[in-house]
Each structure stands twice: as structure tokens, then as C-alpha cells.
């Protein structure tokens, strides 16, 4: 079916800031619709100010155009708000293999207490002996941790 074909083409659209994750892995590709000659793609941002969204939109357009779909309309929706729980299982694996700790699965972005919004283990040596360096990292979606066994610093994809 044509819709499946488009979805598989879009598997090649990667998050420019985490190039091992496709937009489907991340859970930001919400819907693909075909309406006559038009392809309507619905995406949602991870964070309100995520600068990768512009690049992602452009890549969707270019890739679909190269594959014979020049009429592409891209909608952005904010609700329901994206959550890191939408990341696919294979996305989580790819993330870890890339050296970024996957988001905690028990969602507890509460204000109080230590919470469980922390990586389960170091993605490099799998030690659970880790500490927070900074709540913010190189992009909106990441925090910075350090492994107390292998001593390497590493990124953590925040639970959001």
C-alpha cells in the first residue's frame, strides 16, 4: 500500500541531533495521510523550541519529493504532548548502542523527591553506579551524567 511505502521512505529521516534515531523511532512522526495527490504528514516537536524541527521538515519534503511525491503538506500538532514513552523499543536500543542512556520508562517527572528520572545504567559499561553532572545537556532532550566505575561522562535522554 502507498501509505506503508511512504512510511518506509520516512524511516530514512533522522533526528539531526541524534542521527541514529529516525523520526518514527523518536515518536514524533504522528500520522501519514494521503488525500488525492497530496501527502499530509503530521509531526509533533519533542520540546517547544527544538531547533531540529525545521531541518526535519525540510528533510521530509526533500526525501518525498525525490521519491516522486512533490505535494507534501506538513502539519505540526502540540496535543497530545510528546513524551519519551513514545520512543520505540528499537529506538531505545539504537540510542544505547550510540552511547546515550535511554529514558527511564517508569514515568515520574514530578517536582518532589529524587524521582526515577535518571538513567538505569551507564550505556558504555552498564554499571549502575552513576551520578548527575547537569540536568541539561547538549540538546533540550538530554541531561549529563557520569559513570563512577568507568569514569566516562555520558548523555541521558531525559524522561519527558
Amino acid at each position: 500500500m502507498e501509505k506503508e511505502k511512504i512510511i518506509s521512505i520516512l524511516e530514512a529521516v533522522m533526528d539531526p541531533e541524534i542521527p541514529v534515531l529516525s523520526i518514527a523511532d523518536l515518536g514524533i512522526l504522528r500520522e501519514v495521510e494521503i488525500s488525492g495527490n497530496d501527502i499530509i504528514i503530521t509531526v509533533t516537536p519533542t520540546y517547544s523550541g527544538c531547533p531540529a524541527m525545521e531541518v526535519i521538515r525540510q528533510e521530509i519534503r526533500e526525501l518525498l519529493s525525490d521519491n516522486g511525491y512533490p505535494n507534501v503538506k506538513i502539519n505540526q500538532v502540540l496535543s497530545p504532548a510528546w513524551t519519551s514513552e513514545w520512543m520505540s523499543a528499537s529506538g531505545r536500543e539504537k540510542l544505547e548502542a550510540y552511547g546515550i542512556a535511554a529514558p527511564a520508562t517508569t514515568h515520574s517527572c514530578t517536582l518532589d523527591g529524587p524521582g526515577t528520572d535518571r538513567p538505569d545504567h551507564c550505556p558504555l559499561c552498564r554499571s549502575r553506579n552513576i551520578e548527575l553532572i547537569s540536568r541539561f545537556g547538549s540538546t533540550s532532550c538530554k541531561a549529563l551524567y557520569r559513570c563512577l566505575d568507568c569514569l566516562e561522562p555520558f548523555d541521558y535522554f531525559k524522561c519527558h
Binding site: 496535543s79 553532572i133 541539561f136
Partner: protein, 256 residues
């Protein structure tokens, strides 16, 4: 009136975002430079969504006029047309003042977005749903810093005391409703900020207490005469706009 309300929300986010972005490249340590740059990004992203919604409302209201864009609203309005609270336009000062400004505002914004989840304007409810998660994180981060500085060294404690003295008089404006807030609230699309006062004070004082700092008390005599919500700003806003709007004013429509 509702578009004025949306502009007020957007201006708060944009101006604080811009202030925070002034730390980029100047943070006390790299990690915190990055933290404030990320908070700036969240806030500016939120302001974009709000300006887009405001532009939609304005354009629907006057179909004959040339449509306004989010950029027009951010870059082509003068200081008296901006409706942000005076708190967010305050200079960064030292790290303590930046932290306290963020802490006070994020605690407020958290409650405001929380109430706006139920807004009858679906676009505003959606923006609130998106933004509140980011704001929750800002509250967490700034609360930790208030504790670290207040309950830190004699130097950091005294800097926090200075920050409290500078910013405390600007807090009541957050809870003093402008006309557009009241009309939006009565129509079910906005929230009367006076209703958020008690829920703001409790967590704020809990953190200030943990930080060994004096608790916040609402008292009339320390009230500022300025009202940013109504366009009466401190001298600082004009300087922010002069820098932020320069390019679009000097080279209208310029893109890169």
C-alpha cells in the same frame, strides 16, 4: 482582548527567554551556561507557539488587513505595546539574581499553564499541555539552585539576599490581573492570576525555607508602581528590544 492576553503570555516567555540567552557563552561553568541556553530555547519556543496563535486570532478578527505573522509581533512592536511583567525584563545581574528571577517566574508559569490546560481555546490548552512539562523541569532546576546558593557559602547567601531585595517588589504584578486577563478568565479561556497566589506562595516558601532564606511575604508597601502588563515598563525593556529588533527594523523582511 483575548489576543492581548495571548500577547502577554508570549511576551513573558520571549523576554525571559531573551534575557536567559544573554548568558550563552558567559555562564559561570559550561554546564550551567548550557542549562540557561536550553531554558531560553524552551521559552522562546513557547513564545513562538503563542505568537502564532495570537496572529491567527488577530488575522481572523480583521480579514481585510494584511495578515500579521509571529515575527511581526515579536520584532515590530514598540516597548509600550509589550505586555510582559516587569520581573522578566530585569537585567541578569549576578547568578543569584538570574536564578531567583527564573525560580519566581517558573513557579508562577507552572500554575498558569496548569490552569490553562482547561482553557476553552483549544490552541492555548494545547500549548499549555506542551509547555508545562518544560516548565516543570525549569522549576526543578531553579529550585535546586536557590537551595544551593541560599544554603551555600556566606557569599552566595548574601547574594541571594540582594536578589530577594531587588526582585521581591516585582512579584505582586504577577498576581495583579490586567483587564485582558479578567475578561479572558471570565470567558473560560484564561485564568485570573490572583487565584494562583496561594498555590505559588506555598512551594516558593518551602524552597526559601530549605535555602535558609527569608520567606516571601506579600505586603503592599513594597509594591512597584510599574505595570508591564499594561505597557508601563522599567527602562530595561527598551534596551532589550533595541538589540532584539535591530535587524528587522534596519533591514525589514530580512532572512538568512
Amino acid at each position: 482582548m483575548f489576543s492581548a492576553y495571548l500577547l502577554h503570555l508570549a511576551d513573558n516567555a520571549l523576554i525571559l527567554g531573551h534575557r536567559n540567552s544573554e548568558w550563552t557563552g558567559h555562564g559561570p561553568v559550561l554546564e550551567q551556561d548550557i542549562a540557561l541556553s536550553n531554558i531560553a530555547l524552551d521559552l522562546i519556543g513557547q513564545s513562538r507557539n503563542l505568537y502564532q496563535l495570537a496572529a491567527d486570532q488577530l488575522n481572523a478578527g480583521s480579514p481585510a488587513r494584511k495578515p500579521v505573522t509571529e515575527d511581526d509581533l515579536a520584532y515590530l512592536r514598540d516597548a509600550t505595546a509589550f505586555k510582559n511583567v516587569v520581573l522578566v525584563e530585569q537585567p541578569n545581574g549576578d547568578w543569584a539574581q538570574t536564578i531567583l528571577r527564573q525560580f519566581y517566574f517558573s513557579q508562577f508559569q507552572l500554575l498558569q499553564y496548569g490552569a490553562l490546560l482547561k482553557s476553552k481555546e483549544p490552541g492555548l490548552a494545547a500549548i499549555s499541555e506542551k509547555s508545562i512539562k518544560e516548565t516543570r523541569y525549569h522549576v526543578k532546576w531553579s529550585s535546586e539552585w536557590v537551595c544551593r546558593l541560599g544554603d551555600g557559602t556566606a557569599e552566595s547567601h548574601s547574594r541571594m539576599l540582594n536578589a530577594l531585595e531587588t526582585l521581591n517588589p516585582l512579584v505582586p504584578e504577577l498576581f495583579t490581573a490586567a483587564d485582558y486577563e479578567l475578561s479572558s478568565a471570565s470567558g473560560g479561556r484564561g485564568v485570573d492570576p490572583a487565584d494562583l497566589k496561594e498555590n505559588w506562595l506555598k512551594p516558593v516558601n518551602r524552597i526559601l525555607e530549605a535555602a535558609t532564606l527569608p520567606l516571601y511575604i506579600f505586603e503592599n508597601k513594597k509594591r512597584s508602581v510599574l505595570s508591564g502588563k499594561n505597557g508601563f515598563h522599567s527602562e530595561h525593556l527598551g534596551y532589550i528590544l533595541a538589540e532584539m529588533q535591530f535587524l528587522q527594523r534596519a533591514y525589514p523582511g530580512c532572512t538568512w
